[in-house]
Each structure stands twice: as structure tokens, then as C-alpha cells.
Symmetry: C2
Subunit: 109 residues, 2 copies
């Protein structure tokens, strides 16, 4: 199934984070994302021609995060948005993070 079409499921913790090998397999569907910090986070940087467009994209991602109940950490400034996903309750990656990354890719298309 396409990651982009999956709905995030609540994660209450109490499970181990996804291991690096499984994470790398999921990356094949979101090739513009990279694993950060021992495979505990996903990251992608988006470039823009100005500040306003970067902030507008931040808001689009914010709306998506609220809809899905799964929240990105973002860095935004003139011409860029860096997006990070991690499932904080397990201090690592969950399928939800890959789902969110794919949905962000869809927003950017």
C-alpha cells in the first residue's frame, strides 16, 4: 500500500522503535528523505525563493499534522523549511512517520 494513503494510527508508546533496516526499506517510497541520528528521525529540506513561501508551506504541513494527530518538528527561515518526523513517545521511528513524510511529499507536488 502507498504510504501516502495510510491514515496515522495512535501510538501510545510501549513498543520498540522501528529498526534501521526496516526504516531503510520504507525510505524507498520517500527517496527525498534521510534518516537522522541513528535512524531515530526522518528529515527532508525544502527550498523556496523567499520567506513567505517557506512560511506558507510550513502552515500547510501544520494543517496536515493537526489532521493526522502527528506533529512534525520544523525549521523555517528565508527560503527553506526543514521537516523532521519522529514518534516522540518511542523516541524513534514508527510507520506513522513514514506515512507523514509521504503526505508531505504529496503536499509539495
Amino acid at each position: 500500500m502507498q504510504l501516502e494513503n495510510i491514515k496515522c494510527t495512535p501510538c501510545q508508546g510501549g513498543i520498540p522503535p522501528m529498526n534501521e533496516s526496516e526504516a531503510k526499506q520504507h525510505l524507498s517510497q520517500i527517496p527525498d528523505w534521510t534518516l537522522e541520528e541513528d535512524a531515530t528521525k526522518l528529515k527532508r529540506t525544502f527550498k523556496f525563493d523567499n520567506f513567505v513561501d517557506a512560511l506558507a508551506f510550513t502552515n500547510k504541513i501544520g494543517d496536515l499534522c493537526e489532521q493526522e494527530g502527528h506533529h512534525a518538528d520544523m525549521q523555517v527561515g528565508w527560503g527553506y523549511v526543514k521537516v523532521f518526523f519522529q514518534t516522540h513517545k518511542i523516541q524513534g521511528l514508527h510507520l506513522n512517520d513514514f506515512v507523514m513524510a509521504a503526505k508531505v511529499d504529496a503536499l509539495a507536488r
Copy 2:
């Protein structure tokens, strides 16, 4: 003069950044901000009870940055916004950065 009431002036570079001693004097008007990375950046963290409020504050700062023509770098996620000011053309601090910090404080009041 109150920093908050000063208008940012264009900085085209070609001047040295403010030194640490002068920067520390200006901090007295914006005591919630700290100097980062060898006094080349100003930083303040704001806390919120949810994601939506953090993003709304990010947008308020964004509007201010556009008005003043001086752009923050921000980190935003569930419950927080970290705001950084630096005058990128001189890779360090300019009075404009302190002016912007004071204006952000005013937004938060």
C-alpha cells in the same frame, strides 16, 4: 531609545558584526534572549500548550519579519517556538537583531 520602537535599517554587509561586549549591553533590554555561538546569534524559546498555538505565534513573527525586512530563523513543533536572529550578511549580530527581538517580545506580551 526603546529597541522595540526602532525601525530596522537595511544592512548590506561590509561592516563588522557587533562585538560580544556591546551585544551583552543590549541584552539588558531583552533579558529573555541569550547569545548563541560566540555571540553571532540571538535566541529565545517560547512555550505553548499545543501545536496550533505554536504555529500561530510562528506566523505572527513571520508577519513582523516581512514588515521589517529582517527574517528570523525559527524552530517550531508541538508546544514550542525557538526564535533565532542573526544578520546573515555579516554572519553576526547587528542592532537590527536586537530590535527584532524586542518586537517579538512585544508580540508575546
